[in-house]
């Protein structure tokens, strides 16, 4: 049996910071990010012999984080992160910068997205992954990813800088099968 290319400790040393940030952005909740990442790392340690031999262990662990987050969303769909931003009154809070208020409102709307749509948005716009890689993380087709992204961007009222062909936007999202890593 071959040894892992990278030890778990070395992996954490190199990647934990970015995984912490990714989990926070994905979940929008510090406590949930901690729980999700802790659960994932616990499982990853038990399987590190195989994960450590992969070409991109970070990508695999990131996929585990996404799947754990989506599983949590299925279990706890009623819970959404704090704050709505919609209740802030300009009259009562004249010192709030408009940009901060708008960003807060955007984050609140982001929190209300279905789990897979949010995951697509985070992977595409925070991680900067192309749709093909997002599809790989979620275990579905690129066309499905584009469908999720189109609906999420429409819900968030975000204008895409480079509109995609209409036939792609119309593609039915279908159902992404649950990802392999758990």
């Amino acid at each position: 049996m071959t040894e892992p290319r990278v030890t778990f400790e070395a992996f954490l040393e190199a990647e934990l910071g970015s995984l912490l940030r990714f989990a926070a952005v994905l979940t929008g909740d510090a406590g949930l990010a901690e729980d999700v990442l802790q659960e994932v790392l616990f499982r990853a340690t038990a399987r590190w012999d195989s994960i450590g031999r992969m070409d991109q262990p970070r990508g695999y662990v990131r996929r585990m984080i996404v799947n754990e987050y989506l599983s949590w969303r299925r279990r706890s769909w009623r819970s959404v992160p704090a704050g709505t931003g919609e209740d802030v009154s300009d009259r009562q809070a004249p010192d709030i910068g408009a940009e901060v208020v708008q960003r807060h409102a955007l984050l609140a709307e982001l929190a209300r997205l279905p789990g897979r749509q949010r995951a697509v948005i985070v992977l595409r716009y925070y991680e900067g992954l192309p749709d093909a890689e997002v599809a790989h993380v979620l275990g579905c087709r690129p066309a499905t990813v584009r469908g999720y992204a189109a609906r999420a961007l429409a819900a968030l009222r975000v204008d895409s800088a480079a509109p995609r062909p209409r036939r792609q936007l119309r593609t039915e999202a279908g159902t992404c099968p649950p990802g392999t890593p758990t």
Binding site: A23, A30, R78, S79, D87, Q92, R103, V158, D159
Partner: protein, 331 residues
């Protein structure tokens, strides 16, 4: 940048992909610490029972502290005329609602038997959560001189505020805690664990309960005063049996609890609340005076809701871990 003009509603605001990237990047501040993720703990489900025992012990300490208070009649200054004009009541409720998404900062002085025994500062956000949404509450207690004693931070799911937690103690009215983090400065230890128990929120820091009490007509205007140069309305509290508020036999229903609230005369937002328990003649006397500030939900203010673990403190998991000592019957 977003495209928006004064005539557009919020629902019409358009955003760019850069706005989206910036918003996502701002969430990085929520990233948990390396220590919190890599701490010496095993799988959460296996630890659930032990964690619940520790939290139950913390709750018992708070309850016991409240139960030992000997209650007696308080002879406060008799309030002046009362005014329950529906329009004024509605104005206060509207003001509370307008601040729903803000962060409430409460700085309180705790007195016992005539001397200042400690100070507290807390932050809650959002100030008035909708049922089902997540609330963060951070409560720091210090010595009279300002040296930190303990810290309690909760992440809880809000429910409709009720009076169920106000029988023997004065906490826990509006939610179910999902995670509780405590720091004990005397032992230099801290804990953080998931849980399922009533949220522990000081009576002085519970705007959702306060709003409900206003809606039930438990607060009556007693006069006009000036606080720190600001015109304010003074309101006094009285639990009425007809409303069903506060459990029968609790201090809130037998006259031992006195509360005064001051709201800004222009905005109707809360400025200060004073809570007194007992009279001191005979028996103990506790009082908390809390000054409120409503802060915009900027990243800096939202960061105040996050627990702070000082460098070098040890994480503990046992039942004798970093449970903060109660500083008053109100937490």
């Amino acid at each position: 940048m977003s495209t928006r003009n004064p005539h557009m509603t919020e629902s019409q605001t358009r955003r760019s992909e850069d706005d989206l990237r910036a918003a996502l990047a701002s969430l990085e501040q929520l990233a948990p610490s390396r220590e919190s993720v890599l701490g010496p703990r095993t799988r959460p489900r296996r630890r659930a029972a032990a964690r619940l025992r520790v939290v139950a012990a913390a709750a018992c300490m708070l309850a016991v502290a409240a139960a030992v208070v000997e209650l007696s009649t308080h002879t406060a200054t008799t309030p002046g005329r009362t005014d329950t004009h529906p329009a004024l009541q509605q104005a206060i409720l509207t003001a509370f609602d307008s601040a729903a998404g803000m962060v409430l900062e409460s700085r309180a002085t705790v007195s016992g038997d005539g001397t200042v025994t400690g100070r507290t500062v807390s932050w809650m956000g959002p100030t008035l959560p909708r049922p089902g949404t997540t609330v963060r509450y951070r409560f720091v207690s210090t010595t009279p001189g300002g040296h930190p004693r303990s810290e309690l931070s909760e992440l809880y799911t809000a429910r409709r505020p009720d009076f169920s937690g106000l029988g023997a103690r004065f906490v826990g009215s509006g939610g179910v805690t999902r995670r509780i983090t405590t720091v004990n400065y005397s032992t230099r230890t801290w804990t953080s664990r998931p849980t399922r128990q009533d949220a522990i929120v000081s009576l002085a820091d519970d705007p959702a309960l306060l709003r409900r009490e206003v809606a039930l007509g438990l607060w009556r205007v007693s006069g006009h005063v000036t606080i720190d140069g600001r015109p304010a309305l003074e309101l006094v509290w009285k639990a009425s049996p007809a409303t069903g508020a506060w459990p029968v036999g609790s201090p809130g229903r037998n006259g031992a609890l006195r509360r005064t609230l001051w709201v800004d005369a222009h905005t109707y937002l809360p400025i200060r609340q004073r809570i007194q328990l007992g009279s001191g003649s005979p028996g103990p006397f506790f009082a908390v005076t809390a000054d409120y500030r409503l802060l915009p939900p900027t990243p800096a203010n939202l960061a105040m809701l996050q627990p702070v673990i000082p460098r070098g403190f040890t994480r503990t998991h046992g039942p004798h871990g970093a449970v903060p000592l109660p500083v008053s019957p109100f937490l």
